[in-house]
């Protein structure tokens, strides 16, 4: 029983991480209508930026904020200078652009920072939780994931800008006709997604070490999480993340063994897509032909 509890808590902790990356995916989907395959690699890149800032002697808190700001600007520039050119291109072109970004970020990170694993600090490493069940960093991840969920949910639900963003993703032409600056809204969506990804990266790195390939597995789970929760729903992403995290740990410990953990995510992705494409909390979209 004690072990089971341990597995569940561990699952929730890793699930919170998947949830944050899934939030970035949802952010991007809600503002552009695309699933960004390069989201994980962008987050990895941002984390390296943070590592460099900290290595230069910046305090953690300042480096954190500066990285989020840099990622925001970087995401916006990516949209303005790259994605912008493919707005009316067929889907295959957009997917190829995502793949190009994936390869590019991966290669540039390997080129600048090398393949050696790097330690990334946690801001709460000096605190103790008083129980062996959960570490301070895991609690910190959970708290940040919760806070980001509230922010995002509020942003899309209650602010005009959030509403505009959803409108642009849904129908750019009509949005433009009612006076929304479509191109800037899209750029803003990319910027926000990139900064959420940066936060996710900085939360993950103390647990996994920093390395150009750190996101490959996590991205797969984040896909599964986002899809399971509903790819347009921030609360869905968090629920999906937690469910996937717990399922991964429990199935890994008791059913399929650690060797098949990745395949669990694959099975979740395929099952959700086939049987409930809108996920748990997502909205069913009906398109007029």
């Amino acid at each position: 029983m004690d072990q089971l509890l341990h597995q569940v808590v561990n699952g929730l902790a890793t699930g919170a991480i998947y949830a944050v990356i899934a939030l970035a995916l949802v952010m991007n989907f809600n503002s552009t209508g695309h699933i960004n395959f390069a989201q994980g690699e962008m987050a990895m890149f941002s984390t390296y930026v943070a590592w460099t800032l900290i290595a230069m002697g910046m305090p953690y808190g300042v480096a954190f904020l500066v990285t989020v700001a840099i990622s925001f600007v970087g995401g916006m520039l990516l949209e303005r200078f790259v994605l912008h050119r493919f707005r009316n291109a067929p889907l295959l072109s957009v997917v190829v652009v995502f793949i190009a970004l994936f390869l590019g970020f991966n290669a540039v990170a390997g080129w600048i920072w090398g393949p050696v694993l790097k330690d990334f600090p946690s801001p709460v490493s000096s605190y103790k939780t008083g129980t062996s069940l959960v570490g301070a960093h895991e609690l910190f991840v959970g708290a940040v994931a919760g806070a980001m969920l509230l922010l995002l949910y509020g942003f899309f639900r209650f602010t005009t800008l959030g509403l505009k963003m959803r409108a642009v993703a849904c129908n750019p032409t009509s949005s433009r006709l009612v006076g929304i600056r479509v191109s800037w809204t899209l750029a803003l969506g990319w910027g926000l997604a990139a900064s959420i990804g940066a936060v996710a990266g900085m939360l993950i790195a103390p647990l996994t070490f920093l390395d150009p390939h750190m996101m490959t597995g996590i991205l797969l789970y984040a896909f599964a999480a986002a899809l399971l929760g509903g790819v347009d729903s921030p609360p869905g992403a968090v629920i999906g993340g937690l469910v996937v995290g717990v399922a991964e740990n429990l199935l890994g410990a008791y059913v399929v063994g650690a060797e098949l953990k990745m395949s669990v995510a694959l099975v979740i992705v395929v099952l959700v897509l086939v049987y409930r494409p809108q996920g748990i909390l997502g909205r069913v979209t009906v398109r007029r032909v």
């Binding site: 060797e259 992705v269 395929v270 897509l273």
Partner: protein, 323 residues
């Protein structure tokens, strides 16, 4: 466009010359060079397989490395455990990969656009782990993979093994490319493209979309699987870490470079994904990825039909008779 080029009488000598050159090539170059060209031919089959699905039928797959791995492993296990001769593994691989591709195509029917890309991307990410799984270790050899012996030329022919393998692969290339060209030229090809461009109109015109899409998925997996089997025979080695997600991505790079929806561009694409890493790894290990990324962006932005369309354009410009 491609079929036009073949039919134009002015291009016929050129095509004949290219064929002669391809057949005689190993006689003029070293064994190592023939081995390299053999690899390009193998990749060309895989790229063509992906192009049939993604370029012609509009089903985006980011996981074709998985079918390549399946073909390679089926061939390797047949040779290693069952003692099947290397040439006899190809039909078995073709059948297995067609069936698996067809079955994977069934859920794929319900996934449009992004979601199919996502599901196949997940497949690519999970493939190395599946191949390493202990339950399969008895056949797959686990992390170590399987070592094979190099095939000897048949009938005691006096030629090097590398040259023989070149001709062996070339034979498959010719058969598979001619089949694909014929398939795509006729009414089936038009149906496949119609489903990509206007699925609803295609359905209205009496095309059974589901049947075509799953069959194309099967054929595409079959091509890529055969390429995997040939690769296992040529390299005499399979291991889980040769089939990472990057392999699937490189196939897509090959499709985009050669030309989305162009059969013969597959050779250009395959040559690109094999030659560029050889050259760029001398600069730095990361140079390959950066170069791929830049070429992908530039091509999809400026030349979305790939290099082959550029070659055709130049050919037409050069052969145009002055009015």
């Amino acid at each position: 466009m491609q079929s036009q080029m073949i039919k134009t009488s002015s291009s016929r000598p050129l095509v004949a010359a290219v064929c002669m050159l391809a057949i005689l090539l190993p006689l003029f170059v070293s064994d190592f060079r023939s081995f390299q060209v053999t690899q390009i031919l193998v990749y060309a089959i895989a790229v063509l397989g992906l192009n049939l699905l993604t370029g012609y039928n509009g089903q985006i797959s980011l996981g074709h490395g998985a079918f390549f791995a399946l073909g390679a492993y089926v061939a390797a296990i047949l040779m290693d455990k069952a003692g099947v001769p290397y040439w006899a593994t190809i039909p078995v691989v073709a059948a297995v990969c067609f069936v698996v591709g067809f079955i994977f195509g069934l859920p794929a029917l319900r996934l449009a656009g992004h979601y199919l890309a996502l599901a196949t991307f997940s497949l690519a990410l999970a493939t190395p782990q599946l191949l390493k799984h202990p339950a399969l270790e008895k056949w797959t050899g686990g992390v170590q993979g399987i070592f094979l012996s190099k095939p000897q030329p048949p009938f005691g022919l006096a030629m090097s093994q590398d040259r023989w393998l070149y001709w062996f692969v070339l034979l498959h290339v010719v058969v598979l490319f001619v089949c694909a060209a014929n398939l795509l030229r006729g009414p089936v090809g038009r149906a496949i493209r119609a489903i990509r461009d206007q699925p609803l109109a295609a359905e209205t015109a009496g095309i059974d979309n589901s049947r075509f899409k799953t069959t194309v998925f099967g054929i595409s997996a079959m091509y890529t699987g055969i390429a995997g089997a040939l690769s296992a025979i040529v390299l005499q080695f399979v291991s889980p870490d040769s089939f990472t997600m990057f392999l699937s991505i490189y196939f897509l790079v090959g499709v985009v470079v050669g030309g989305v929806g162009s059969i013969w561009g597959a050779f250009l694409g395959a040559a690109f994904i094999l030659i560029v890493p050889n050259l760029s790894s001398e600069v730095s290990k990361s140079a390959t990825g950066m170069l791929y990324a830049m070429v992908l962006l530039l091509l999809i932005w400026r030349m979305p039909n790939g290099l082959w369309s550029g070659v055709l354009w130049m050919w037409r410009a050069a052969t145009r008779r002055p009015a």
